[in-house]
């Protein structure tokens, strides 16, 4: 992506944005008033700084004339000095607030839409994104876009407007002089920055690539650091990391050196500009006596504060290259419309329905432990009631085939009928297609041929509503780093505390939750590490219970559990699923007798199908596996 795809026009910020950019340009239109305010304040701030020195220079010269009127003659300049002196910091203060407010508005909207775009491909996300990419997306891209506005777009627009104002001001006195200043400032504020953008684009690209490489490699190798240490190769990696870091530094240092040279060139030009102003002022106002000569000091001194506005422009413009990737990456996602998101981002009032606030987020982290966790009295009846909710549904799988994009066939005309209330275990080696089957039932993948009906309705027609029929317990059910209550409410957003306690009771976690320092308000540590594997699965089960479904689909829920924990978990599962259909994809034969039916999938088709007792009697392979799985002595 070395060459920008956009054309060289103001619309694409001179080739910076792609032609069909959906993540930067739209924000110029959004909250336009605030944006304009921020820019006007920025220009005014620099103008005030210049005018302070301008009026001061004039004031002093004028006073030096020792006029008869005394103080009254200089009242106006004195007043101006005060206005500009006070005004500049105040303007700066307001400008910072307004521009940050605008940028944060933009960020909120950006987060929402980015989430929306990712949400639409939620189920494929894990397989298409490295975790590191996510962090990159979040920490970098959003932050980068904030910086793009705050550090590049704002200073440049402000600088350019100021440039025109200054040139115009000088031009009023003397057209030729105005033009000369215009040329000098154009070089400093437009040509040098543009040159730098062009010249350094590749360098920044390279620096960024090296940085990403360093980041990705370091994260990867940190995760595998035990292996490096054990292999006795830790030093090898340290060397490699150092090389990578130096390679990146090379680029960064070259860029820094460019900036320093550029600053030197800018300063040479601005020195030249100052000399022009001096000579012009001396020529224009000098020699003709007072009071005209009072203006010499005003013009000369007024020029210097402007330097502060123009000097940083090259770095600001070049910095945009850093964000180029972020913009491109964001543009890989479509901009989700308000209708899809179902919010009006302009009217914050519409968000009042969302009860979750920043305070909740922060308070939950800081809340204090309670003396004793209160459990509602009717919790057991609640649990029984909860387990009976939801309509028990059957699943019809009819000659389903599925092939990945590459053409590799995973399922081959597989048919299976699961009656309402039936408990089915599905086994198979990894790669046999059992997980694919689960994805097809959930509607996350579409069958190549054949059809799947839930409760008589085709899965495709249930799009977006499958969760009302089938509750899923994934292999690594995710626990959010929120309170336990929040985690359970994922099952049903409006679940009351009574219902939540009932669900906890049903999965037999009441004692554990009672022991937590803050009960339901206890934060689940990062990635749910506070809870053991068995507890995590129980929490996931409680979620499913709260969602009132009639069929539970478990995707290898017992992986990594020890047999005792697993057995106990299955106990609970069968208790709460008494009135529900149950489909469990599993990898071994623990407690297999509990199921009505056992199905082995191999090569995308059903290889064994029958009740455990039946298979035990008739199937040699089943028998062999069963004894291997349970055997203590061989």
């Amino acid at each position: 992506m070395s060459e920008p795809k956009g054309s060289f026009s103001p619309k694409t910020l001179f080739g910076f944005l792609p032609e069909n950019d959906a993540w930067v340009r739209p924000y110029f239109g959004l909250y336009r008033k605030e944006l304009l305010q921020a820019l006007v304040l920025g220009v005014a701030m620099f103008a005030f700084a210049a005018l302070l020195m301008f009026t001061s220079g004039y004031l002093i010269s004028r006073c030096a004339e020792r006029l008869d009127g005394g103080i009254f003659v200089v009242l106006t300049p004195v007043a101006f000095v005060q206005v500009f002196g006070l005004g500049k910091p105040i303007l700066r203060y307001i400008e910072r607030l307004v521009s940050h407010d605008w940028v944060f508005r933009m960020t909120s909207d950006l987060r929402l839409r980015l989430y929306g775009a990712l949400e639409s491909q939620a189920m494929q996300l894990k397989s298409t994104h490295r975790l590191g990419d996510f962090l990159g997306l979040i920490a970098e891209d959003i932050g980068h876009l904030q910086n793009l506005y705050l550090r590049t777009i704002f200073p440049i627009v402000i600088g350019w407007v100021l440039l025109l104002v200054v040139a115009l001001f000088f031009g009023i006195f003397d057209l030729l002089f105005g033009l000369a200043i215009l040329v000098v400032l154009l070089i400093v504020a437009v040509i040098l920055p543009m040159l730098s953008v062009q010249f350094n684009a590749a360098r920044i690209e390279c620096e960024k690539a090296r940085k990403n490489e360093l980041y990705a490699n370091l994260t990867d190798n940190l995760l595998g650091s035990t292996d490096w240490v054990f292999a006795g190769r830790g030093k090898d990696y340290l060397k490699q990391a150092k090389q990578e870091s130096e390679a990146r530094h090379e680029q960064a240092a070259a860029l820094d050196a460019y900036y320093r040279k550029n600053d030197l060139a800018s300063m040479a030009l601005l020195t030249f500009g100052a000399v022009i102003v001096f000579v012009w002022a001396g020529h224009h106002f000098g020699g003709s006596g007072l009071p005209r000569a009072d203006w010499i000091a005003a013009f000369v001194l007024g020029f210097f504060p402007l330097i502060e506005a123009f000097m940083p422009m090259t770095a600001a413009a070049t910095q945009a290259n850093v964000y180029r990737d972020s913009v491109a990456r964001l543009n890989a996602y479509p901009r989700v419309s308000d209708e899809v998101l179902d919010v009006d981002t302009k009217a914050l009032g519409s968000m009042s329905a969302v009860r979750f606030t920043l305070n909740d987020l922060m308070n939950q982290v800081e809340s204090t432990p309670v003396e004793e966790v209160q459990v509602p009295l009717s919790v057991t009846e609640g649990a029984t009631k909860l387990a009976q909710e939801g309509k028990t549904v059957g699943i019809e799988i009819d000659k389903v085939s599925f092939a990945h994009l590459g053409g590799h066939k995973v399922l081959n005309e597989l048919s299976l009928s699961i009656a309402p209330g039936e408990k089915v275990a599905i086994l198979g080696r990894s790669g046999s297609g059992k997980s694919t089957l689960a994805s097809l039932i959930r509607g996350d993948l579409q069958c190549s041929t054949g059809s799947i009906r839930i409760d008589g309705t085709e899965v495709e027609q249930l799009a977006g509503h499958v969760h009302e029929y089938i509750g899923v317990v994934q292999q690594n059910a995710y626990l959010f780093n929120r309170t336990l209550r929040d985690n359970l409410r994922i099952g049903r957003e409006d679940a009351t505390d009574e219902e939540i306690w009932a669900a906890i009771d049903a999965v037999e976690l009441t004692d554990m939750v009672k022991r937590l320092p803050k009960g339901l308000d206890t934060m689940v540590d990062e990635a749910g590490m506070r809870f053991s594997g068995g507890e995590r699965h129980r929490i996931a089960l409680a979620r499913v219970l709260l969602s009132r479904v009639g069929c539970i689909l478990l995707d290898e829920p017992t992986v990594g559990l020890d047999p005792i924990t697993e057995s106990a978990l299955l106990d609970t599962l069968f208790k709460i699923a008494a009135n529900k259909s149950l489909v469990m994809i599993t990898h071994h034969l623990q407690d297999i007798e509990r199921f009505d039916r056992v199905i082995f999938i191999e090569g995308g088709a059903i290889e064994m199908d029958g009740s455990p007792t039946e298979l035990m009697q008739t199937n040699e392979r089943f028998r062999a596996l069963r004894s291997f799985d349970f055997g203590l002595a061989v």
Partner: protein
């Protein structure tokens, strides 16, 4: 530092000379002097004005190098704590925190050093000469400037301190917000299966908007310090110019000194203003530096390095009354939790030791002690006659091969992954390992065979395939005589486990093996079995003995199989 001071003094000299030339030339013109007569003064002014930038150029080039060197050192030291044999920073702080510190943290420190150092010196070295110059020109103005200076310093410290506390709080909130966003994205699949992913988008927006409100409120006060500073600095200049005006009218001062003081007065405040501006901006850098230094300092304390001779058929390892306890991360009282107590056992030669017990019985902790990931808190470990409390010894770890439940697969080619422990393995040896460990199918399936990039972001592998790669690593490095397994087959489907068992058993010949598992069928391949319960060894011996004893092992087997001991 001395060099930086010199640079700052030279800068001050430029500032004063340029102010002199400027004021003198303007005064001359004002008094009716001819423009061409002023050209020398203007030329000197221009030379000083530009010369100052040249000074900055040289200084910054020098500083950039210094900052890079220092930050590189920090990064190396930090990584040393991870990849060095004696430390385990990652265990103590987590991967994310360490990589954050080693990358963004170090970068922040570099910026901090390159930006802040010269400014701190500038705050002292520039205003002082400027003040002396002003004093000689007009003492009243100099006093006005001086009066404003402490006020500015006072505000900078006062508000700077408040702002830093606020910035820290704000940073925390921002982090919480970012984490919330990332956390939501990570669990998006779970949200999607519950049909909740849409409504969580609204949450993200709501929280983000709340954050905007909170931040703007914070900024109102936090940037106020900057504004007040700015205000005083500009008011200082305005006050000087107005006072000069009055005294010019009364004739108590001439235009030249007045002008020169006026030109100098912004320069007097400039360093402190710049420093104040960066003072806030560089808080991140300071935080990062503190964080990294803390991390480096937390490297595990050195324990006695002992030399453990290579393991052979006559070697002996013994645990004598070994305890292990730890403090829980969220436990403020510092109360220790005992994970292992009074562990006694020994293993000789190429014994195969099975470690069984329920979850939480201490199996993994024992494996961690054996691997040197943790240090015993009591008792001694004796290996080949050497006594120690920790097996975190290079000479031990290089004999060891550790195969966990989820072997880590690097984002690298399959070949590099297989050869990780023996980078110099020959093609033949690799082909043999692939064959023996049953990786042939995978190699054939991958588009570029052994050279296909696997691992996170590359080609995803199943748990069984990852285990096979781990076995291949072990096979390629026969010099490692100690194998440490931590539930290696827990993730595998039963048929894969069955197949892998057949391949693994020959691998264990001629090695000392520790095998922690809850899959009891492995025990028939073990010579000695440790049964753990609540952190203690409750039974140990050969399988025959334990079966005959009808004790804890049988009890465990019953519990696991629902009463059925086949």
């Amino acid at each position: 530092m001395g060099l930086l001071l010199l640079f700052s003094l030279a800068e001050a000299a430029c500032v004063i000379t340029q102010a002199y030339c400027l004021a003198r030339a303007i005064t001359n013109l004002w008094e009716g002097g001819a423009l061409p007569d002023q050209f020398t003064l203007i030329a000197i002014f221009a030379a000083c004005f530009f010369g100052r930038q040249v000074l900055l150029f040289i200084r910054d080039s020098f500083l950039a190098r210094f900052a890079h060197e220092r930050s590189s050192e920090l990064r190396e030291e930090l990584l040393e704590g991870v990849f060095g044999a004696k430390t385990n920073l990652v265990n103590a702080h987590g991967t994310a925190a360490v990589s954050q510190a080693a990358l963004e943290g170090v970068d922040l420190v570099e910026t901090y050093l390159a930006l802040i150092l010269p400014k701190i010196i500038g705050v002292v070295a520039i205003p002082l000469p400027v003040f002396i110059a002003a004093l000689r020109l007009d003492w009243i103005s100099a006093v006005i400037l001086l009066m404003f200076y402490p006020v500015i310093i006072f505000y900078m410290i006062m508000l700077g301190r408040q702002a830093s506390a606020r910035a820290a709080a704000q940073y925390e909130t921002y982090n919480a917000l970012s984490n919330h966003f990332v956390d939501t994205l990570r669990g998006i699949e779970t949200l999607a299966v519950f049909g909740q992913s849409k409504s969580y988008g609204k949450r993200i927006f709501k929280v983000s908007e709340d954050f905007r409100g909170a931040t703007i409120n914070t900024l109102k006060t936090a940037t106020l310090s900057g504004a007040v500073l700015d205000l005083f600095a500009t008011l200082g200049v305005a006050a000087v110019s107005i006072m000069l005006g009055f005294r010019l009218i009364s004739g108590s001062i001439l235009l030249f000194p007045a002008l020169m003081v006026l030109v100098l007065s912004p320069e007097f405040f400039k360093p402190i203003r710049e420093f104040a501006g960066d003072f806030h901006a560089s808080l991140d850098g300071k935080n990062a530096l503190a964080n990294i230094t803390r991390m480096i300092a937390s490297k595990q304390e050195e324990h006695g390095e002992v030399e453990i001779t290579p393991w052979d058929e006559n070697s002996r390892l013994a645990f004598k009354e070994v305890d292990y306890s730890y403090a829980r991360a969220d436990n403020e009282s510092g109360e220790l939790i005992a994970a292992l107590e009074q562990i006694n056992f020994s293993a000789e030669g190429f014994a195969k030791v099975g470690i069984v017990g329920t979850s939480g019985s201490g199996k993994s902790t024992l494996v961690n002690l054996l691997g040197g990931f943790a240090q015993a808190s009591g008792g001694t470990i004796e290996v080949n006659g050497v006594q120690t409390q920790s097996l975190q010894q290079e000479s031990w770890q290089k004999q060891l091969l550790y195969i966990p439940q989820d072997p880590y697969i690097f984002h690298a080619s399959l070949r590099d992954n297989i050869c990780f422990y023996s980078p110099d393995a020959s093609e033949d040896a690799i082909a043999h390992a692939v064959e023996v460990c049953g990786l042939g199918e995978l190699v054939a399936e991958l588009p570029e065979g052994l050279d296909t990039i696997i691992g996170e972001g590359g080609r995803g592998l199943s748990g069984g395939q990852a285990q096979r790669i781990a076995f291949a690593r072990a096979l390629l490095d026969p010099a490692r005589k100690v194998l440490l397994f931590d539930e290696p087959t827990a993730h595998l489907d039963i048929e894969t486990e069955f197949e892998l068992k057949e391949r693994m058993l020959p691998l264990m010949e001629g090695k000392l093996v520790f095998f922690a598992t809850h899959r009891l069928h492995w025990l028939s391949a073990m010579d000695h079995i440790l049964v753990l319960e609540h952190g203690r060894i409750v039974e140990q011996g050969s399988l025959e003995d334990l079966l005959a004893a009808q004790g804890k092992l049988i009890e465990l087997a019953r519990a696991m199989n629902g009463g059925d001991v086949a």
